[in-house]
């Protein structure tokens, strides 16, 4: 089969581009350590979240010196808890599940983003620095009022975080 010289060059460039793209994704995984949402968590009875140790009371918990975990339930058409309140300069691990249909969980303007599938628990981790308020949206169609489904993520100062229970 005759292949034109220019075409051979083009082919080589195309393969180089492909390897470069695979390389950049691999670098993202092993260099900066961008982990994928994966199947690390066990399946969960979507109809029995009320009896689940983590999700019967959706909440934020301190699990290490600067490490917080949040157990979040998505349902038609809200997130619980909302707002998710975490202190500044901390590492946050979210566990998100759904009690009904497929939802999305996206902290707007960031790369904290996951699908929320009933029966599965999505785990995402990220770091927060300064205090601020972020919007959380459901980015997968979940029913007729899908567009009203939003939540909040509040990053607050250490002192505010420690006093948060007193207003409730």
């Amino acid at each position: 089969m005759h292949i034109h010289a220019y075409e051979k060059l083009w082919l080589a460039a195309a393969i180089a581009l492909i390897l470069l793209l695979i390389g950049s994704v691999t670098y993202g995984a092993v260099g900066p350590g961008v982990a994928m949402v994966t199947d690390s968590e066990n399946q969960i009875d979507a109809g029995g979240l009320d009896e689940d140790e983590r999700f019967s009371e959706p909440r934020v918990e301190q699990v290490g010196e600067n490490h917080y975990e949040a157990y979040v339930v998505a349902y038609q058409f809200a997130f619980d808890p909302s707002p998710i309140v975490v202190p500044e300069d901390s590492r946050v691990t979210l566990y998100v599940t759904s009690r009904d249909v497929v939802h999305g969980f996206e902290v707007v303007g960031t790369n904290a983003n996951t699908m929320v599938v009933p029966g599965e628990v999505a785990q995402i981790s990220f770091e927060v620095d300064e205090p601020g308020e972020y919007g959380v949206v459901c980015n997968e169609y979940c029913g007729a009022a899908h567009h009203t489904m939003e939540g909040k993520l509040h990053v607050v100062s250490q002192s505010e975080f420690e006093n948060r229970g007193e207003d409730a």
């Binding site: 109809g47 497929v102 983003n113 599938v117 029966g119 599965e120 919007g135 567009h147």
Partner: protein
């Protein structure tokens, strides 16, 4: 003299029966395009907040389902079956084996799409207890009316029979032409259909084993991760099912329109073989952010996806080289000066070239989607529809419209009503899409979600970049309006063309490739080899993930409920009506049977 006359024949002269099928398929396709465009403009104006008077926000998802299904299943696939019927018949230079079978698959496709379309449109009224507001992806446990799943099944079975029809015609040709290379267009059709059979096996399994029985109440629940995965097993190759007819046109028709010849027949075959091999074992890249699938499977899918760029990059080279050859034959010179020698006044040429240009842009935004960890930034944001309006929405859609200006006269003997309007139409599409798609990509970068009636929220504002949310909304609305106008011009032009009288002397021919099929290694035509390798790759990519999903969540899912979007508390009424109707049918059949038996016994001696 008779030789010269034969060369002057159009497809319609030579194969009048097949031309009717092609015409019927195109008309079905254009009807869907019309519906899709109407829902498209409603959706654009609603979502951007320019005008929300057509529908309530809760009905937006009915509109969105209709736009998606009519555009990507009816418009594209009806065009495909018309084009492939033309391509097989033309390139084998013989009629289809049995035109009745041809009309049967056309009828099945039309019936299936009518069922699915009815179930979607019934979502606008509460008077009919049917709806299918589940969007084109129908993710369980949202549940559509059984009619939706049944309709899709009938439609797909129709496409299977269409493929069988083309394969039979090819086998009949092969018996008469031992040892000859498969003509290029037929090769493209057969390889595309092989890919389609592999791809649709998963969606058929998903619907027939799970979704349809579940919607009929025969099984209590489904595993959402399993049905999602089966959907995307189908959902990625389907995009190549839309694209391959456009490639067929770029490879075999565009060079001739440009006055040139296809650069290399063997490389065209290589490209189609690569699509057979690589377009299915990549579907998990749509599920990068799914919690139920392990990271390793996602990585494998990502790697395969990146290699899938190769056939498209090769296509870019071949198409540009073939067109350049045409330009130089027309007297074009210089490094880029040859571009001026091309037939830019021809809407078929200009439309396909602009479609190809936008496909390049869509390819680059697709590389971002495919970049597993970069995808976090844009997953399920408006970036994604921005991307696929460049690919299926323009590379495919605009190519189909542009090719119609060339093909329609060949299948009807009627010249196009106005090629000037056609030229304006394809350019308008390009401008409209440039505005809309660019702004959609930008909104995606701001985090604006896709698939929502009201992307503005009460609790937060989007970051201000790229001109800001509001300004981008305006660009989307203007772009969408131009696209709607462009569609109206296209459809109007075709309707007026149908009123034109038939003429003779408009036959066009397709010139053979510069480097012909005899230069291609024989193995390229050995379809069995490619089917086997494709199946092995699919098994490698999917066996473990599917086994893991089933062993983790079970076939029927971990305690997941059912969320029908079609019941409205009328399920019992519906069930009763169905039962009553069923018994009435049984009764009347009994009466009829008795009557027939009586009559027969009366006749008998």
């Amino acid at each position: 003299m008779s030789e010269a006359l034969r060369a002057e024949q159009t497809f319609a002269d030579k194969f009048p029966n097949e031309a009717k099928v092609v015409r019927a398929a195109f008309l079905g396709s254009f009807f869907a395009l019309f519906l899709g465009a109407v829902f498209g403009i409603i959706q654009t104006l609603h979502r951007t907040g320019i005008f929300r008077g057509f529908i309530a926000s809760t009905d937006y998802y009915t509109v969105l389902t209709a736009h998606g299904v009519f555009m990507v299943l009816s418009f594209t696939i009806f065009f495909l079956v018309g084009l492939f019927t033309w391509a097989v018949t033309r390139s084998l230079d013989r009629p289809l084996v049995n035109i009745k079978i041809t009309w049967t698959w056309y009828g099945l496709m039309a019936a299936g799409m009518t069922m699915a379309g009815f179930s979607i449109l019934a979502g606008f009224t509460n008077a009919i207890p049917v709806s299918a507001d589940v969007l084109y992806t129908f993710y369980a446990p949202l549940q559509a009316h059984p009619l939706y799943y049944a309709g899709l099944t009938v439609f797909v079975v129709g496409t299977w029979l269409a493929g069988a029809d083309w394969f039979r015609t090819y086998l009949a040709w092969k018996r008469d032409n031992r040892g000859e290379r498969i003509p290029l267009q037929t090769f493209m059709v057969l390889t595309t259909m092989i890919m389609w059979y592999i791809a649709t096996s998963a969606i058929a399994a998903s619907i027939l084993l799970f979704l349809l029985p579940w919607s009929l109440g025969l099984i209590p629940s489904v595993n959402p991760t399993l049905t999602r995965t089966l959907f995307w097993f189908f959902g990625h190759p389907v995009v190549y099912f839309w694209l391959m007819p456009a490639y067929l046109l770029w490879y075999t028709v565009l060079p001739s329109i440009a006055g040139g010849r296809l650069f290399s027949d063997p490389l065209a075959r290589v490209v189609f073989v690569l699509f057979v091999l690589l377009s299915t074992p990549v579907g998990i890249h749509h599920q990068y952010l799914d919690p139920g699938i392990a990271e390793g499977f996602k990585f494998i899918s990502m790697t395969n996806t990146m290699f899938l760029l190769l056939p498209s990059l090769l296509t870019a080279f071949t198409v540009v080289a073939s067109v350049e050859y045409g330009a130089r034959r027309r007297g074009g010179t210089g490094l880029f000066g040859w571009l001026r020698a091309l037939p830019w006044r021809d809407p078929a040429f200009t439309g396909m070239m602009l479609a190809g240009l936008m496909f390049a842009a869509g390819g680059f935004s697709g590389m971002v989607n495919a970049g597993m960890n970069i995808n976090y930034m844009i997953h399920n944001t408006l970036w994604v529809p921005g991307h696929f309006h460049l690919t299926v929405g323009t590379a495919v859609g605009l190519t189909f419209m542009a090719a119609t200006y060339w093909l329609w006269p060949q299948i009807t003997n009627k010249p196009i009503y106005s090629l000037q309007i056609g030229l304006f139409q394809v350019v308008l599409w390009f401008i409209g899409m440039a505005l809309m798609s660019n702004a959609m990509h930008a909104q995606g970068m701001l985090g604006v979600p896709r698939r929502t009636a009201e992307p503005e929220y009460s609790g937060f504002d989007y970051p201000t970049a790229f001109g800001g949310f509001e300004e981008l909304n305006l660009q989307i609305a203007i772009g969408g309006t131009l696209l709607f106008l462009s569609t109206v011009l296209f459809l109007g032009n075709i309707v007026l063309t149908m009123g034109n009288p038939k003429v003779s002397g408009i036959a066009e021919s397709i010139r053979p490739a510069l480097s012909g099929p005899t230069d291609a290694p024989q193995v390229l035509d050995n379809l069995r080899v490619w089917v086997s390798i494709a199946l092995v790759l699919v098994v490698l990519a999917y066996a473990l993930p599917l086994a893991a999903i089933i062993s983790d969540g079970g076939l029927l899912g971990p305690g997941v409920g059912t969320y029908p979007v079609w019941l409205d508390g009328t399920v019992h009424a519906l069930a009763e009506t169905a039962t009553t109707a069923g018994w009435m049918l049984v009764d009347s059949l009994t009466v009829l049977g008795a009557h027939v038996a009586d009559t027969l016994s009366g006749v008998a001696p």
